[in-house]
Amino acid sequence: MEAENALVRMHQDLQRALKKPAERRSWAMAVDVRKCIGCYGCTVACIAENVLPPGVMYRTVLDIELGKYPNVVRILKPMNCQQCDNAPCVPAANAVAPGSLEKRPDGVVAVNYERATKEAFEAARAACPYKRAVYFDDGRFYTDGTPARQAYEMRPSFEYGKEWTRTAGKPPVNALRKCHFCVHRVENGELPACVTTCVGEATYFGDLSDPQSLIAQLLRENRDKVMRVYESKGTQPRVYYLTDTPVLCKSQHP
């Protein structure tokens, strides 16, 4: 599998999946922790793609040091919303803000920016066992406080296939924000921003219901190495991790 170009293969997988009816796609992500080099390329690509403000980072990377000199271990583990099939955030947020979160048939837990208020955010955050999954857009800009706010922060994002302009004083400002597997890119035939940029070639994405897909093959062929974070909580996350040390990797989750 080494000579193969994972991005090209997944890109082909994606075109195949898009030919299917939307409700029969099953998006999932896999991260090979052994290959993550902790570069934060995914983090920044995501900020750029989705025009994220200060304080909002859909995708982060945990950098955990263990051991004593010179026997040191460093675990580099990316985290984003796990798009759980049994997502505790959905009922919690919808209870305070009806219609704010929706579990889509393709697996994505989608935010309705018009309805996902601060209360929805707080409820979702409290319900979600994963730290670093849900964020609140408090309306700040990175270039505020400099001689002038810059255009790259004022351009629209295309999340969920719509144009969102933060300067309009409307959503997504003052809304809950989180990873959506870049469905706006995916549905236009482009892999998620964190996946295409992943410098370590550690991040995989595709349609789990397609056995031919690289992601399905990867998970199938590495059963002993696959783990999901907080599986025991019954959340059924759609982000899978591959590691040589599943126990260690699991125990190190904050």
Binding site: I37, I47, E49, F158, K170, E190
Partner: protein, 1054 residues
């Protein structure tokens, strides 16, 4: 693609209106898009995957120079991706033949800095108009002036600042007759060729008589070898790639006639380049010449074992995008394991089979220990090493060969010259000698007909001449200490040494030593590099798949057959620059008329060039001569150099350098001392030919091209409109001076050089032509041509005019140029990088295990000859004295590192990167912290023997204390501390400045913690000043490196 192009033109319309803003628009921020531009609500398709909204170019957030795919939204660079045509970004890259219309949804990889690049481009602190200083140097008070006024003042000089006369360039351009220059240059060479001081003196007198009428054009008639006054113009640069490189040299050297055009190589990894240059020198017509300024890297996509020494390809060192996937794939597939030799547990080390936290500065000791074990255990490739010439190598199917078996004469116990066959009466021809079964045999290293092999270990006397083989000499150096003794020096356990050596010799040709800054930036850097690269020679892995690889590029300068524009012939007014350079490079001290005693006043560098740390301090000392004008392009020596604070004192003093002109995109730590700042275009607005790196095995030429409208002011030069830029500055000055090689007929009869496009488009055509007839790219078809135009619909005529473009290259090349630019350059397909078990683009010749040229070079500071073979040298100052600051209580060894989210001096404007890592730290082991009473998060100051106050003195009344936050980690060798480069700024938008009387507030997110900001510490000023030179950092006097890693410091709580 249902949208018409019309509504997309808003940005262009907007640019027109900004011209009305007039004088106050000196910063980019004043030219920004109005916020209401995008504030409309509509439900649109995802715009960014449409081919007509995509342009391909090259990243320059660091020097890896990855391919870029720029997604545009209303002319704004909205999102950056990796270019899938480029082997940097996709491994394997997609076929070069694929149409850009078909691959718009396919992205390549990009590192976080690459992703954040638009924040460098759209930095609110970018300057867009010419600035002239309104206060003292470094005071950071400026006025905007017109381009024409700036050019006029620089050319004509005068009392420009009310501080007295400033010489203009027209005064410095003293020698203008190319014929006279050529004649003088030849006569200077003749002076250097004279053997005795008396003969030299006589030759100087003869020179003075011959040129009696022209002595006023010389810097010093008593020392004609200093050259003409023209040399008092110095052009220095930081990051510079092809295209602009030729332009700067054309201006400075070819047309103006100054020898002083110098790059920054030694601040990065100079001794890596120059030790490799010495290893690649070839014997031609009786002398060693043609050594390449280059180096090798491992072919990580095929290696089975790599030792990374002082290199972290996951964080820097020409990674990570291009190198990481090959490494991580190899780890997971089981193909590869690697070791990391580094005092710090880098992210690369975190994936290593073995981390070796070596004592900094002892890298050669570890290499020689391994060498000893490998030779002792006969695990070297004897077959490879015994090949004395090309024919023998070819017979063995080896692309390269060495001089391991050549005989070297031993004079007074010291290896000197190679034995020549003449000396034994074997032949009259100039031949070297090997011993074959004890019998001397003469040979020509490049002979392709008669294979000659030699005995590997020779120590004997032939006809009364004491000789040893090259390998014998290496063995003696390696066995001068026991493994235990070497281990004690480098503090690597003997069992680790053996394990490394055994593993390295267990994979045939698929093992490699890959080294970088951590090896070269020491006072002994040259020999550290040599020792490690000699290990690669022991297994003979050069040019082998999985072994050592060199870079390979499509030439853009037109020297190859079939290329349409040969730049060597496109400068009819070319003159001959001559004389000793300000950095005294590529000339031996002893040959010059300045030779008097050892140590020389400052070091001479016969084996190196581009010695960055020497430029400004040499000007400060006026050695070998004072300079009059300094141009600085995309470089910040103050910030980037070790002990860069020593440069401030000189820059701030107009008596030392009367005129300083900077080309920069912001007001940085160095350009703040300029008299004039010419705003430059950022990397998304301009041209460059980015070249390649050794680990890329494919032949390539990534091309940087304008993908957004220029953000700087438009100016007029030679009657043509163009954006303010390096090009406009040079063309404008050339126009005012009447410099040959520019303007009407600048390229020759009927070929004008009045616009930058005329330079760069010709180069693109050369790349399109390829290396040989038949190697041209295809023509762009109609659909591609239409895409080419549509995707550039937001670019103004100043930078994109299809009519101008096509006229420049001519009909024959136009569609080929389009084909290349549509893909962001030219890239061979992946498989074209290999040829069976070999790397396709080969080095393919002799590699010197013994360096005769080096052995015949004298250290200008000690008067002692250099060793021609790998040795371990203890750390020393420039005159060879040990540095013993630890005895004064400086108990910690300071090193630096790169975080993946920062590049040395130019990413502090990238707020997305600061969001990941807002501040760097003083990184230390808990054991040291405990001893010093420090804990995690404490504020502490770094001081050293040469900076006991622990500050940057900006010479403007401000001092920046080197205060940072302590971070504790088990991942660093106790006794060593480190900080990440790129943080803790005091310029580049970090502090207040005044333009046209208006105060521009600095941003504390960029500001050094010591100045009350949040951006951590830049501790280069703590690095040791050389005790003899006194205004420069420690140096590697052999390879030229500026020394980053040999300073002892104290860390004190504040």
């Amino acid at each position: 693609m249902k949208e018409s192009t019309a509504p997309r033109l808003t940005r262009r319309r907007f640019l027109k209106t900004t011209a009305l803003l007039g004088g106050s628009a000196f910063l980019l921020s004043r030219l920004g898009w109005p916020s209401e531009l995008f504030a409309r609500t509509r439900l649109a398709e995802y715009e960014l995957t449409k081919p007509e909204n995509i342009l391909y170019t090259v990243c320059q957030q660091c020097n890896t120079q990855c391919g870029l795919k720029v997604k545009l939204y209303d002319g704004l660079a909205a999102k950056l991706e990796g270019n899938p045509y480029s082997p940097w970004n996709l491994q394997p890259n997609i076929s070069y033949r694929a149409s850009p219309l078909d691959v718009a949804t396919l992205d390549g990889r990009l590192c976080p800095k690459g992703q954040a690049g638009i924040q460098t481009v759209y930095d609110p602190y970018r300057v867009v108009k010419v600035l002239k200083r309104a206060g003292k140097r470094g005071e950071n008070k400026w006025v905007t002036i017109s381009f024409d006024q700036a050019v006029d003042e620089i050319v004509n000089g005068g009392d420009l600042f009310g501080e007295g006369h400033v010489p203009g360039l027209k005064e410095i351009w003293a020698l203008r007759d190319p014929k006279l220059a050529k004649e003088m240059a030849d006569d200077v060479k003749a002076i250097w060729a004279k053997k005795t001081p008396e003969e030299k003196k006589a030759a100087v007198e003869a020179f003075k008589t011959k040129y009696a009428e022209h002595l006023d054009k010389l810097i010093d008639p008593d020392h004609p070898d200093l050259g003409p006054k023209n040399n008092q113009l110095v052009f220095m640069w930081g990051r510079l790639k092809g295209g602009r490189s030729e332009l700067i040299k054309r201006f400075t050297v070819e047309s103006f006639g100054s020898v002083n055009a110098h790059g920054h190589t030694t601040v990065c990894q100079g001794s890596l380049y120059f030790a490799s240059k010495a290893m690649s020198e070839q014997y031609q017509k009786g002398s060693w010449t043609g050594g390449k300024k280059f180096y090798w890297q491992a072919d990580q996509n095929n290696s089975e074992f790599i030792i990374f020494v002082g290199a972290s390809p996951f964080e820097g060192n020409y990674g990570p995008t291009n190198r990481a996937p090959g490494l991580t794939r190899g780890l997971v597939s089981g193909r590869l394991k690697f070791a990391v030799v580094d005092p710090r547990f880098s992210k690369t080390a975190s994936k290593a089979w073995k981390w070796v936290p070596i004592k900094p500065g002892t890298e050669a000791a570890l290499a020689l220990a391994m060498t000893r074990w490998i030779i002792e255990n006969k695990r070297y490739n004897a077959k490879y090493l015994s090949n004395a010439n090309k024919a023998a190598a070819v017979a063995d199917k080896e692309p390269t060969w060495t001089n391991a078996c050549w005989l070297v004469k031993i004079v007074d116990g010291r290896p000197e010259k190679f034995l020549r066959a003449k000396e034994l009466g074997l032949t009259d021809e100039d031949r070297f000698v090997v011993l074959q079964d004890g019998k001397p045999v003469a040979f020509d290293p490049y002979d392709t007909a008669n294979p000659v092999k030699g005995d590997l270990f020779v120590d004997t006397t032939i006809q009364g001449i004491r000789v040893k083989s090259g390998l014998q000499i290496l063995w003696e150096s390696a066995s001068s200490k026991t493994l235990e003794e070497w281990s004690a020096i480098c503090d690597v356990p003997v069992r680790d040494i053996i394990e490394l050596a055994r593993e390295f010799t267990s994979h045939g040709k698929k093992a490699a030593v890959d080294i970088h800054r951590g090896v070269s930036q020491h006072t002994n850097g040259f020999y550290n590099v040599f020792a490690w690269f000699a290990l690669n020679l022991l297994i003979g892995n050069y040019d082998w798949k999985g072994g050592m690889s060199q870079a390979s590029t499509f030439d853009h300068t037109g020297g190859k057959e079939g290329q349409p524009f040969n730049f060597a012939k496109l400068n009819p007014g070319k003159t001959t620059a001559f004389g000793i350079s300000i950095i005294r490079h590529e000339i031996k001290y002893e040959q010059t008329t300045l030779f008097e005693r050892y140590p020389a006043k400052r070091p001479w560098y016969p084996l190196s060039s581009d010695i960055y740390q020497e430029i400004i301090p040499s000007a400060g000392d006026g050695y070998p001569y004072p300079i009059k004008a300094l141009f600085i392009y995309m470089g910040s020596p103050v910030y980037a150099l070790p002990a860069g604070h020593t440069n401030i004192e000189i820059l701030a003093d107009p008596k030392k350098i009367p005129l300083i002109v900077a080309s920069d995109i912001t007001i940085g730590e160095t350009s703040m001392y300029a008299d004039y700042i010419f705003p430059d275009l950022s990397y998304l607005e301009r041209w460059e030919f980015a070249g390649s790196h050794p680990s890329i095995t494919q032949k390539v030429q990534p091309i940087r091209q304008p993908v957004i409208a220029p953000l700087t002011e438009t100016v007029k030069v030679f009657g043509q409109e163009m954006p303010l830029s390096l090009e406009a500055m040079l063309l404008g000055i050339a126009e005012k001076l009447g410099l040959p090689g520019f303007g009407q007929g600048g390229f020759g009869e009927g070929q004008d050089f009045t616009h930058p496009d005329q330079f760069y488009l010709r180069m693109v055509a050369n790349v399109a032509a390829g290396d040989r007839p038949g190697n041209e790219v295809p023509d762009a078809d109609d659909a591609e041509l239409e895409l080419f135009l549509r995707a550039r619909r937001h670019l103004p005529k100043t930078v994109f005019d299809p009519e101008r473009f096509s006229q420049i290259v001519g009909e024959k090349w136009w569609r080929k140029v389009v084909y290349v630019l549509n893909r962001g350059g030219r890239f061979d397909n992946w498989e074209q990088g290999y040829d069976g078990d070999y790397i396709k683009n080969r080095y393919g010749t002799l590699i010197n295990l013994y360096q005769e040229k080096t052995a015949l070079t004298i250290n200008s500071m000690t008067g002692k000859p250099l060793a021609g073979y790998p040795i371990y040298l203890p750390l020393a100052d420039s005159v060879g004295r040990p540095i013993e600051d630890e005895k004064q209580g400086f108990d910690l060894h300071l090193i630096t590192h790169r975080e993946i989210v920062a590049t040395k001096s130019r990413t502090i404007s990238n707020y997305w990167l600061l969001a990941v890592m807002p501040e760097n730290a003083i990184v230390m082991h808990p054991r040291d912290a405990q001893r010093l009473g420090l804990s995690e998060g404490d504020r502490a100051k770094i001081i050293s023997a040469s900076n006991s106050e622990g500050v940057w003195d900006l010479a403007n009344g401000t001092k920046v204390p080197m205060i940072g936050t302590v971070h504790l980690t088990e991942g660093i060798r106790p006794g060593v501390i480190s900080f990440a480069l790129g943080y803790g700024h005091w310029a580049y938008g970090a502090t207040d400045l005044v333009i046209d009387g208006e105060t521009i507030k600095g941003d504390e997110r960029r500001r050094a913690t010591g100045l009350g900001g949040g951006a951590g510490v830049h501790a280069n000023a703590a690095m040791r000043v050389d005790p003899y030179l006194k205004n420069t950092c420690l140096v590697d006097v052999y390879g030229g490196s500026a020394v980053f890693y040999d300073t002892r410091v104290k860390v004190v709580k504040v």
